[in-house]
């Protein structure tokens, strides 16, 4: 089912706020990793704590989230992640 097809992307950050090396942090400076799940319907991203020594992402340490629905918000300008919290997320969303 095309709706179940998923494309994953990720991006590292050195801090929660933008800073001089936010675009290209060196491995040792990575503190947060943004993991995105994309389907034809939405893009869901969680920015979680990341340890560059263990190469481990901590999905219970969520720094921020993004959720955009393709049909109603094709340019991804209206993040509804916070509004979606507290409601059960569809299974494919669970990392």
């Amino acid at each position: 089912n095309p709706r179940e097809l998923v494309a994953y992307s990720q991006y590292p950050r050195p801090a929660d706020a933008p800073q001089w090396n936010s675009d290209k942090p060196s491995l040792k400076d990575i503190k947060v990793m943004g993991y995105s799940i994309r389907t034809v319907d939405y893009r869901y991203t969680v920015w979680v704590g990341f340890s560059p020594r263990e190469f481990l992402a901590n999905f219970s340490d969520v720094h921020a989230g993004e959720l955009y629905f393709v049909d109603s918000d094709p340019w991804q300008d209206h993040n509804v992640y916070n509004a979606s919290q507290g409601r059960a997320l569809p299974p494919p969303l669970m990392p």
Partner: protein
């Protein structure tokens, strides 16, 4: 049937701002022509929107969490695992593999060798004029030379009187002429540098995009609900002299709207310039009668934000930074074999009157990942598709984390073509 050759074209930082992806402004007739004979994936995404991590990921078929390359400072064979690459796999299967231009990201991430000798049969070629890319060769309004972001040039005046991508095209054509008579099939990867910054392109291409026709991004403001961690502060373009002179505030800018339109104008002009290079390369492939025996794949390592969400460049998880063009031409499968002497890819001049709209080729709307390039090219060339990776797979040299997309290439109407049966 003889094994199919493979021509892999990687265009640095190219977002799907192309006619074949529905862009009404951009002139990309040669890539559009390729698309008309190809399968076009409308929703293909990179696994990380920055050069080296994305390239190592799709060339090894492993996710960044497996290559453990999120920056530019490690070589996967030493740092994560001895993962085979697409060219290496073809080389091990009897192909002559050759690299021209920017295929692997240069430097540590490819062992300062473009991963030679593992991946390549011959020493990789890098255009000599690349060393001037970031030097002061851009004529400013003051008539002086600067290291600018916006850098339309008179090619006759730049050092060596040429540009890297022109040299890469010339070299690739020479190699095709040599490889044409080779007894074994070839895997030729050509990496174009543009439209990566600086936007240094032949100044005549600017005429294709008069500023009055260039709009701002549809959503140029930083969205209210965007978490600060998600925002990319586009620090790289700020280092260019013409952007520095704007004295922009960090991290959110904004860039003055007239300069935003100039950036977009130069990005599109760079795309049209690269389109002409792709056109010359494909026309040579055709002229050497290799179009009937060569798979052509064209893609990019990630997209590029052109002001959307108040962002520029890549470095984020937004679709504009991760979505890439992905076109695959398979002779006799995505298009009928060209008649003897027939032309599939005649060069099209983007300056000629707006070329009649190209007949679209086959399209697939399903989401796909750049990771799938490895298994799919292997399968289309008739090689054994590497097995799925176990988790974790650091200890496994040959496996794939991406889906094999071969099922999208099963078209009933062309099945009788010999290569299709292959």
């Amino acid at each position: 049937t003889d094994a199919l050759n493979v021509l892999l074209i990687i265009v640095d930082d190219l977002r799907p701002s192309l006619g074949c992806y529905g862009d009404k402004l951009v002139r990309s007739p040669n890539i559009d022509q390729l698309a008309s004979h190809s399968l076009l994936f409308q929703n293909a995404f990179a696994q990380q929107a920055v050069c080296a991590p994305s390239r190592v990921s799709f060339l090894t078929g492993r996710r960044p969490d497996t290559t453990r390359l999120y920056d530019f400072n490690s070589y996967w064979r030493a740092h994560a695992g001895n993962f085979s690459t697409i060219p290496q796999y073809f080389k091990q299967n009897g192909y002559v593999t050759v690299s021209v231009g920017k295929v692997f990201h240069p430097g540590i991430s490819s062992n300062h060798s473009d991963d030679s000798p593992y991946s390549w049969s011959l020493p990789p070629y890098h255009p000599s004029s690349e060393k001037y890319e970031n030097t002061k060769t851009c004529k400013g309004p003051d008539g002086e030379l600067h290291a600018n972001l916006l850098c339309p040039v008179d090619v006759a005046e730049v050092p060596e009187g040429t540009l890297p991508d022109k040299q890469s095209t010339e070299r690739a054509i020479q190699l095709l002429e040599k490889l044409r008579t080779s007894a074994v099939p070839f895997f030729l990867a050509v990496g174009y540098h543009k439209p990566h910054i600086p936007f240094r392109y032949p100044q005549e291409f600017q005429k294709l995009y008069p500023l009055e026709n260039v709009t701002l991004a549809p959503d140029p403001q930083v969205p209210a609900g965007l978490p600060p961690v998600a925002y990319n502060p586009w620090m790289d373009i700020r280092q260019r002299e013409d952007v520095q002179a704007l004295n922009l505030s960090v991290p959110y800018g904004p860039i003055p709207t007239d300069f935003q339109r100039k950036i977009r104008q130069s990005y599109f002009a760079s795309v049209s310039y690269v389109d002409t290079q792709v056109g010359r390369l494909l026309s040579a492939l055709d002229g050497l009668e290799l179009a009937r025996s060569t798979i052509v794949a064209l893609t990019s390592d990630h997209g590029w934000a052109l002001g959307e969400h108040g962002e520029w460049a890549k470095y984020s998880n937004f679709d504009v930074a991760t979505r890439v063009p992905l076109l695959v031409y398979v002779p006799g499968r995505t298009a009928p074999l060209p008649e003897a002497g027939g032309r599939l890819f005649p060069y099209i001049d983007p300056f000629a009157s707006a070329s009649e709209s190209m007949e679209p080729g086959r399209q697939a709307g399903d989401l796909v990942e750049l990771l799938s390039l490895f298994p799919t090219l292997a399968g289309l060339a008739g090689l054994r598709v590497p097995p799925r990776c176990p988790v974790p797979s650091f200890h496994v040299e040959l496996c794939r984390e991406g889906r094999n997309l071969l099922k999208y290439f099963q078209f009933g109407d062309l099945e009788e073509e010999p290569h299709a049966r292959g």
